[in-house]
Symmetry: C2
Subunit: 206 residues, 2 copies
DNA sequence: AGATGTGAAGTAATTCACAGCC
DNA sequence: GGCTGTGAATTACTTCACATCT
């Protein structure tokens, strides 16, 4: 269960959301080719991804949605609440906190940070906003190991260094700078400029 | 030059930004291992990516930054301005338009859309905001083939259908729904929920 | 009959490793 | 000597195809 690739984990996360939110009302069973259709993948891909789960489908009836969801949650979620810190409460930070709010019972943004005094002290989608000077204290108190960076580029590396020193092991970055982190820290790059240039290129060539 | 993979195009875009923004003042030459260090890749990877470019480095002195940038722009950019449409002017749309504004001379968001009358008519980072009912007209008039979707999930598919019908061939999507598009339309998924769940998983396991 | 789970095959992406050059 | 460019090797990812099950 520990040899998931990043691709597989990402798709499992997608499958879960599809099963939760994008199934016709009352669907109880689903076949791999149906889930594949929803996810934009092949049925073999879906079955391969689901192999690692603690649940098997039935040849005749496919997968029971409730059981598959339970297995996905078991594979994807932490045993208890995994708190996430969000640093940088500009438009992007506010967007993320808004749509992720309440999405998962065991994965939630529980603290957000900014260095603008006008923002600290208030809440965003019910999440308290602290001044960045409180970073280490809050991360330690909540046992946070996961963070999202939405600060301006020039602030990002310093924040990351502090997060890592405070024990953070996974960082989702929307700062448009490359982050330097020690081995053992997972960094997911959400670089929107790269994404847009890629899209623009394939719009022309594909 | 047409057999770039999405991975390669993404990294070429990253290399360009690194060369532009993250080099010590006055750097004129760079070696593959230095660029690799900045990009978080291997030097072999960098050299392999640069192979397709219309420029070769020198064994003794590496790559001349100016020439490499010119070759990257030639490979990545359209010959003339490539206009991009952005649909959905919530926090996320505003964030994207803000930081991409002015970044590239030949790739720019030139039109944005919302269905909120309070937003249409004004500008965001100097980009005029139209009502979504104007979508087809503006896309046709500007010859837009590239779009970014930042609408709420339930609005996304209908917007995508209209964009594709109007001639759009590349879509960068931050809507958290899977988009259905005909073959020949490139879709880059920017799904932030998947990204966060992936990050959270590897924070625990990696 | 028509699904699943999976070994085997096939593709794609990355890294190795070295000839050739400065 | 230390770099580039690149064929060959390796590793990672996806798909094929089929034995198996209901």
């Amino acid at each position: 269960m520990a040899d998931y690739s990043t691709h597989t984990v990402g798709r499992l996360s997608l499958y879960r959301r599809l099963l939760e939110d994008h199934l016709p009302e009352g669907t109880e069973q689903i076949f791999s080719h149906q889930l594949a259709e929803l996810a934009g993948a092949s049925s073999a891909q879906v079955r391969r991804d689901l192999m690692y789960l603690d649940y098997e489908g039935s040849p005749k009836r496919g997968y029971r949605v409730q059981d598959l969801l339970a297995a996905l949650s078991k594979a994807l979620d932490a045993p208890t609440l995994q708190p996430v810190a969000l640093i940088g409460m500009g438009n992007l930070g506010q967007a993320i906190i808004g749509f992720f709010s309440g999405a998962r019972p065991r994965l939630a943004i529980t603290a957000c940070f900014d260095n603008d005094k006008a923002k600290t002290g208030q809440t965003f989608s019910a999440v308290p906003c602290y001044h960045v000077s409180q970073l280490e204290a809050v991360v330690a108190r909540q046992g946070i190991i996961t963070a999202i960076i939405t600060t301006p580029a020039q602030a990002a590396q310093a924040v990351v260094d502090r997060l890592v020193a405070a024990g953070v092991r996974g960082i989702l970055s929307y700062a448009h700078v490359p982050l330097k982190t020690p081995p053992g820290v997972f960094v997911e790059e959400g670089d929107m400029t790269v994404a847009l240039e890629k899209t623009a290129w394939f719009a022309r060539k594909a």
